[in-house]
């Protein structure tokens, strides 16, 4: 029984790993192929099945004038927009969440829970509904097709995630911890950054991870709100696909697109596997 369980367990893990890893292997090998190797017959192994070439990768850094597609600039645009929007969302979201968790707000019929719901409700509507208001808003303030405009829009999209995760996190931090800090001579600001914040790192990491992922993979708003001046990576990658699909450069660009998320996953994995994301204060 024990052996059977072990067998099934490992079989499942191996199958799942293949399922996850196979597309990556496919993308890696395809990125080194040329037109011939992709379209003639099924090939797997470099040098044996096909002659590897760096053409797919070279196209990505060549300027359009010389027949390339230059994704370097969109790549850094994406990095800048995602990181800036995530950082601002985390800072503002954490402060908002702490206030919502610790203080009681009353305005008419509005209570703390209603405010929290208001934040989350920003994400209830499908993006298509928000696109037109965002478009009009950005064009009115003259930030259409600009990095700053995208940062503003992404903050609107990411901050609810940060608030939602951090409110839940702070609610599980005993209020007595803040009170002890106050009694021990901290004013409310010191209590927050000397005691509450250092104990909230796991929550901050999770919230940050979600912000980065959702910011990085967004295609829709990057597509709607930019034209020629500024382009983000997802838009550029999709734009690679023309009348002839260049599978090799598409694979290469897909690989470097997911690279940052894989790095983030490896950093966060340490925290996830230890199971200490929520239990830091128990």
């Amino acid at each position: 029984m024990e052996k059977l369980y072990k067998f099934l367990k490992y079989t499942f893990i191996i199958l799942w790993t293949v399922f996850i890893v196979a597309p990556f292997l496919w993308a890696i090998s395809t990125s080194f192929k040329d037109f011939q190797s992709v379209n003639s017959k099924v090939t797997y192994i470099p040098w044996l099945d096909f002659e590897p070439t760096l053409e797919g990768w070279r196209v990505l850094v060549k300027s359009p004038a010389r027949g390339g597609v230059d994704i370097v600039e969109p790549y850094f645009n994406s990095l800048f927009v995602t990181c800036t929007a995530s950082l601002i969302s985390i800072v503002l979201g954490t402060l908002a969440a702490y206030a919502l968790s610790r203080f009681t707000f009353k305005a008419g019929f509005v209570r703390n829970n209603d405010i929290t719901f208001f934040f989350i409700s920003q994400r209830i509507m499908p993006p298509i509904v928000l696109s037109i208001p965002f478009f009009i808003f950005l064009s009115t303030i003259g930030l259409l097709d600009s990095l700053i405009g995208l940062v503003v829009v992404y903050i609107v999209l990411l901050m609810p995630i940060a608030v939602w995760i951090m409110v839940d996190f702070f609610n599980r931090v005993p209020k007595e911890l803040d009170e002890t800090a106050l009694i021990d001579g901290c004013n409310p600001y010191q209590a927050f950054y000397k005691v509450v914040l250092p104990n909230s790192i796991p929550g901050l990491i999770v919230a940050g991870m979600f912000c980065i992922i959702f910011g990085w993979i967004d295609f829709f708003f990057a597509f709607i709100l930019t034209f020629t001046e500024v382009q983000l990576l997802p838009v550029k990658v999709v734009a690679l696909n023309s009348s002839i699909t260049p599978w090799w450069s598409l694979s290469a660009s897909a690989l470097i697109s997911v690279a940052p998320l894989i790095i983030v996953a490896f950093i966060v994995e340490r925290y996830l596997s230890k199971g200490n994301l929520s239990g830091a204060l128990k």
Partner: protein, 359 residues
């Protein structure tokens, strides 16, 4: 120069958490707040600490209006019933945290921490993480932090309630030692608890609190001997004092068709209906006694608690040895009439075996 509270009322919603509470705490003394859960003990302590602001009333310390001073400038220390320490700091850093806030010199900090660690018996644990400690040790760290701070007001909110039985006994002994030796002359120590035994052992001035109201104030011995009302008698005894409705008829007391001799300290009472009170430990097994039915028998430590029933009357008897009883078994018990209390129909004490010392 004392900590004085006048008519403090705290009513955040429909219910009173503190109802017109007044007190005058002197330096160098130990005060215990006795009350059941939700009686307002924590509110009381938090009000003194400054975490809550009363709706009305005055609070002053050393002739300063305490209510105007924010928590972080009040120089109080508090130990919670949950073991609250700073999880991101180790034991040493935890204890120096309040000292660093007050910008005390490094040498002085070192000395104070060493002393505090010695007092609570945690020398050698300086570099441990809080999460690696047991509940009892965590509570010791919290206490050490409060002691090292040398605050003028030290508040302890049911510090032992979340510990297991054995540890509680042990720590209680230590607390008693710390409170009698380790405290300076100008510290006011306020200790809240639900456990009457703790109150008696700490032997300080007691305030009995119920539904935010002070029911009785006085030395522990006085509360034990002369609980002013039925409610105090219930709160200040564990198991609660047994109350039996009955009447006095010249030389006899009768309740539930039981007739016993009236004790000598009842001789001035007029013949009428009373609530008679008797502690569980004053009910003994006796073959000559009255027959009661056992509803429940629990053994705790070296004692047996019998929940007994006869007609409408229910009593709890504390037998000081381990005995096995069956449920519904009949046993004969006798009341020690010399230890009977009498409360009148308004539930106020009219006669106690120790003599009523107040009006």
């Amino acid at each position: 120069m004392n900590l004085i509270g006048e008519n403090i009322t705290y009513k955040p919603d429909d219910q009173f958490h503190l109802n017109n509470v007044s007190f005058n705490f002197k330096k160098g003394n130990l005060y215990t707040i006795l009350g059941r859960t939700l009686s307002g003990k924590t509110t009381f302590l938090k009000t003194i600490a400054g975490l809550l602001n009363p709706n009305s009333g005055n609070l002053s310390f050393e002739d300063n209006d305490f209510i105007k001073i924010p928590v972080w400038e009040r120089n109080v220390a508090m130990v919670y019933q949950q073991f609250i320490n700073y999880p991101h700091l180790n034991v040493y850093e935890n204890i120096i945290f309040p000292l660093k806030q007050r910008k005390i010199s490094e040498d002085q900090i070192k000395k104070d921490v060493e002393e505090a660690l010695k007092t609570v018996g945690l020398v050698g644990f300086e570099n441990r993480k809080i999460q690696e400690l047991s509940g009892g040790q965590q509570q010791r760290v919290a206490l050490a932090r409060s002691l090292a701070k040398k605050a003028k007001i030290l508040l302890l909110d049911e510090p032992l309630v979340n510990l297991d039985y054995k540890l509680r006994e042990q720590l209680r002994e230590e607390f008693k030692r710390i409170f009698t030796q380790g405290l300076s002359e100008d510290t006011i120590l306020i200790y809240s608890t639900t456990d009457p035994q703790e109150v008696m052992e700490l032997n300080g001035e007691v305030i009995v609190l119920d539904e935010g109201k002070v029911l009785q104030k006085g030395p522990a011995k006085e509360i034990f001997e002369n609980p002013r009302t039925l409610k105090v008698a219930e709160i200040s005894n564990d198991p609660p004092m047994n109350i039996l409705k009955g009447t006095k008829n010249s030389e006899k007391l009768s309740f539930e068709n039981i007739l016993i001799n009236s004790p000598s300290h009842f001789k001035n009472l007029s013949d009428q209906g009373y609530n008679f009170g008797i502690r569980a430990s004053e009910i003994k097994l006796d073959d000559q006694g009255e027959e009661f039915e056992i509803e429940l028998a629990e053994i705790s430590g070296s004692e047996t608690l019998l929940h007994l029933k006869k007609g409408e009357s229910k009593v709890i008897a504390l037998i000081e040895e381990v005995m096995n009883f069956k449920i519904h078994e009949k046993v004969k018990i006798k009341f020690n009439e010399n230890k009977l209390y009498a409360f009148d129909q308004n539930e106020e004490l009219v006669s106690s075996p120790y003599g009523v010392s107040h009006g």
